[in-house]
């Protein structure tokens, strides 16, 4: 897995692939819970809606920026792959962008437009969130299928679209367990229990499908000794799912203790699933067509970005943590004063 660290043409693409992978993972978890809260929106009453919005209000913008970084890194580090991937996903990308536009502006408009229009913007908020999630899941499916466009791959992509959407609503629900209390928290616990089933199904389906995309990946999974490297992934994931099932049945705990734990465990679960996928596809950036080494930009340009990234990313993480710290605790309806 590790590149030759003395050769910049090797380790730079590798470093950028890791950075991009990390950025996508952070995006999926952070904007995942924002989108999830949006998907769960219609299930709550008006007062609860304000609290739900309050639980993501100060964060959603920064969370979305990880997507910008991921696309930016793909664009700068792997320009050819960027072209191939985005032009073959032209329509789903467009649909996702429409979703993101609706979600983002509805957030502001619902709070500022005359109150008669609030229902309309609430609907736009929900629609935007769910459309974004569906489009991302669809792209994920097509990507796993090597960007081939046949009825079968569309079918698979439709399935992943559905599963990722439920996955987002699950992580949104566990986020709400952390950020809310009382009746709404009770609802969030119920939503999480329902979502966990599909999360299990989703991770299972993707794991089952991936090895059959190509003999190469199949070999990476089911041959000795590789199988021993990969075996901990399904085992730990299974344990985490079990833990979540047991924990969610007993929540809320006395005195609302450990309300953050389901979110933390779910984050671990998502991360494991993601690492499994990354392991399967490495070293390809366009599955089975283009490796990260073939697609990389000039080493000089990559180096200059890496220097900047190493200096700035720790600072970004620092002030992101500061923001989450400032807005810790239970969410309240948002106010500008």
């Amino acid at each position: 897995m590790l590149p030759d660290f003395t050769n910049p043409a090797e380790w730079l693409p590798w470093a950028f692939a890791s950075l991009m992978g990390l950025s996508i993972l952070i995006y999926v978890i952070l904007d995942g819970f924002d989108l999830g809260v949006g998907i769960l929106f219609p299930l709550a009453d008006d007062g609860e809606k304000e609290k739900m919005i309050g639980s993501i209000g100060p964060f959603w913008d920064a969370n979305e920026t990880w997507l910008v970084l991921a696309v930016g890194l793909l664009l700068v580090a792997f320009p050819t792959a960027h072209g191939v991937i985005l032009s073959s996903l032209y329509l789903p990308v467009f649909i996702m962008l429409v979703g993101l536009i609706l979600r983002g502006v509805a957030f502001e408009f619902r709070a500022k437009a005359r109150s008669g229009q609030r229902k309309l913007w609430n609907a736009a908020f929900f629609t935007g969130s769910i459309v974004t999630a569906l489009a991302q899941g669809f792209m994920l499916g097509l990507y796993i299928m090597g960007l081939e466009q046949t009825p079968a791959t569309y079918g698979f992509a439709a399935l992943t679209a559905l599963l990722l959407t439920i996955g987002y609503s699950f992580i949104g629900a566990v986020w709400l367990i952390h950020k809310t209390e009382g009746v709404l928290q009770g609802k969030a616990i119920d939503w999480s229990k329902g979502g966990l089933w599909s999360v299990m199904l989703g991770i299972g389906a993707v794991s089952l499908a991936t090895p059959f995309v190509s003999p190469r990946i199949f070999g990476k999974w089911f041959s000795v000794p590789e199988i021993f490297y990969i075996l901990p992934l399904p085992l730990i994931s299974g344990a985490l799912v079990l833990w979540l099932f047991v924990m969610l049945r007993r929540m809320p705990f006395y005195g609302d203790r450990l309300n953050w734990l389901p979110f933390a465990v779910s984050t671990g679960l998502f991360a494991l699933a993601y690492v499994g996928m990354a392991y399967s596809f490495y070293p390809y950036v366009v599955p089975e067509r283009l490796t990260i080494y073939e697609a990389a930009a000039a080493p000089e340009s990559l180096l200059i970005i890496l220097v900047g990234a190493c200096a700035v990313v720790p600072v970004i993480i620092g002030y992101t943590v500061l923001a989450y710290f400032i807005f810790r605790g239970k969410a309240t309806a948002l106010r500008y004063d």
Partner: protein, 473 residues
């Protein structure tokens, strides 16, 4: 033919998206600093009117910011979906610049805006002020990096071409390329002018609705003074920008002036209908020797004409003349209107400063001094900055055609092979969404203003005189 259709549609789509996007950065860049100013004045003076002004404009800022973010994300995907050739050819230069924009600007503004908008009650005053300042700084950084890239596309240097791909040789030269300082200064001032007139226009609207609160006075003065101070500077910077362009992109200047022949004693055209086929203008009205004087500082200065940019076989190697010619005039015309209006407003407010009502008697500007026609003129001018900014960008960008990166690659070389109907379909959908959002945006600002003018905004009591305390006109 098919490729051409895709090209044309992709250009229209890109132009539509960036035009929509730029409307909101233009507001957020300067409004961030204006909010910082309100916040600072409140801390310095403890006067509630500054906080009331802050509270009102921070809502407009939040709304504009959200519009800017979502349309910006669309922009960053556009490069891949519609212009893959762009990154394949100049990616080694454009890439790092875009990456630095994300790293040094986008995260900064996106994280601190949360604290700025919702943190007032949760963090100490200094941290809230710092957050406000950092958001403003972030938007400015973002403008800096993207303008570096855009200016490099106009005046590229510091690179070498190897097998049709650009490689950077000197980053300093790339960043400080010849047109960058002018373009950055011109754009920053454009942003402040836009916000100045937005603030003045919305405040005038509230005044007309009968709002006589102290913050409305403070806001109206702030807006008009920003406009009055910066407009002359903008003319100066614009002139220097034009001279710089004359050196590096003479074809663009020839199109802006509508000058078909290289010659001396060129007039400054105020009106004309350029006819591309006949290569001449109809119905010219101009100031004799004006263009020669502005561009060469001599009555008989020789100004390059469009005839210098013809291929052997007569095909034009210069940009289309009519759009460049006219958008340039729209920008300058709007600028002149801004100059007149802001100076007239300041003059009237100063001359009748004794009319000033308020705590600090004898303050040097009195909003009461504004004649009604001027108040009414300020309202439609609220969005005049948008008109001038868009017109300016059209001048610059269309003036660069047929090049995408001047002298390096043409726009045609960059386009993706996406089926034309697909581009058309998405284009129509974008336009529909943008039209809806623009209507919603402008009407929400009008609604917020009306609500504030009627006094039912969420604000501490006592911050304003009781409604009706000062008789309406």
């Amino acid at each position: 033919m098919d490729a051409l259709d895709t090209l044309l549609l992709s250009r229209i789509q890109f132009a539509a998206n960036i035009s929509f996007h730029i409307l909101f950065p233009t507001i957020t860049i300067a409004l961030g600093w204006v909010l910082f100013f309100f916040r600072l004045r409140f801390t310095q003076t403890g006067d509630e009117k500054w906080m009331a002004a802050y509270r009102f404009w921070v809502k407009v800022f939040a709304l504009s910011f959200a519009m800017g973010v979502v349309s910006g994300i669309t922009m960053s995907f556009q490069f891949g979906t519609n212009w893959p050739g762009f990154m394949e050819t100049v990616g080694n230069i454009a890439g790092p610049l875009l990456a630095y924009e994300v790293l040094t600007a986008f995260f900064l503004e996106a994280v601190f805006i949360g604290i700025m908008l919702f943190g007032i009650a949760r963090v100490p005053g200094w941290l809230h002020m710092l957050a406000t300042g950092l958001v403003a700084f972030g938007t400015t950084m973002s403008a800096f990096w993207i303008i570096v890239l855009n200016s490099w596309m106009h005046t590229p240097q510091g690179f070498e071409m190897v097998d049709g791909v650009a490689f950077a040789t000197d980053w300093w030269a790339i960043i400080f390329n010849p047109s960058m300082p002018y373009r950055f200064a011109h754009m920053m001032i454009a942003s402040f002018l836009t916000v100045g007139f937005l603030v003045a226009g919305v405040s005038a609207f509230r005044w007309i609705l009968g709002d006589r609160s102290r913050e409305v006075r403070a806001m109206l003065k702030t807006g008009v003074v920003i406009g009055g101070l910066l407009m002359p500077v903008q003319i100066l910077v614009g002139d220097m920008h034009g001279l710089n362009t004359l050196e590096h992109q003479p074809a663009k200047v020839a199109a802006m002036e509508g000058n078909w022949e290289t010659q001396g004693n060129v007039p400054l055209l105020l009106f004309a209908l350029p006819v591309e086929a006949a290569r001449e203008n109809r119905f010219e009205i101009g100031i004799p020797n004006g263009a020669s004087l502005i561009l060469k500082h001599k009555m008989d200065g020789v100004v390059p004409g469009l005839n210098d940019f013809l291929a052997e076989d007569g095909t034009a190697l210069h940009p289309p003349v009519t759009p460049v010619f006219w958008s340039f005039r729209v920008m300058v015309g709007t600028g002149m209107t801004m100059l007149l209006l802001s100076w007239a407003s300041v003059w009237f407010m100063w001359r009748r400063r004794y009319l000033h009502v308020g705590r600090i008697a004898g303050h040097w500007l009195a909003v009461e001094g504004l004649p009604k026609p001027i108040l009414w003129a300020l309202v439609p001018m609220a969005f005049s900055g948008w008109v001038a900014t868009l017109a300016g960008w059209y001048t610059t960008e269309i003036g660069r055609q047929p090049w995408l990166v001047q002298g390096v690659m043409t726009t045609e070389m960059a386009v993706a092979e996406v089926p034309a109907p697909m581009v058309l379909g998405t284009l129509i959908a974008y336009l529909a969404i943008y039209a809806g959002l623009l209507i919603a945006y402008v009407s929400v600002i009008a609604y917020l203003a009306t609500k504030a003018a009627r006094g039912d905004d969420v604000q501490p009591r006592g911050a304003r005189p009781a409604p009706g305390a000062v008789p309406a006109e």
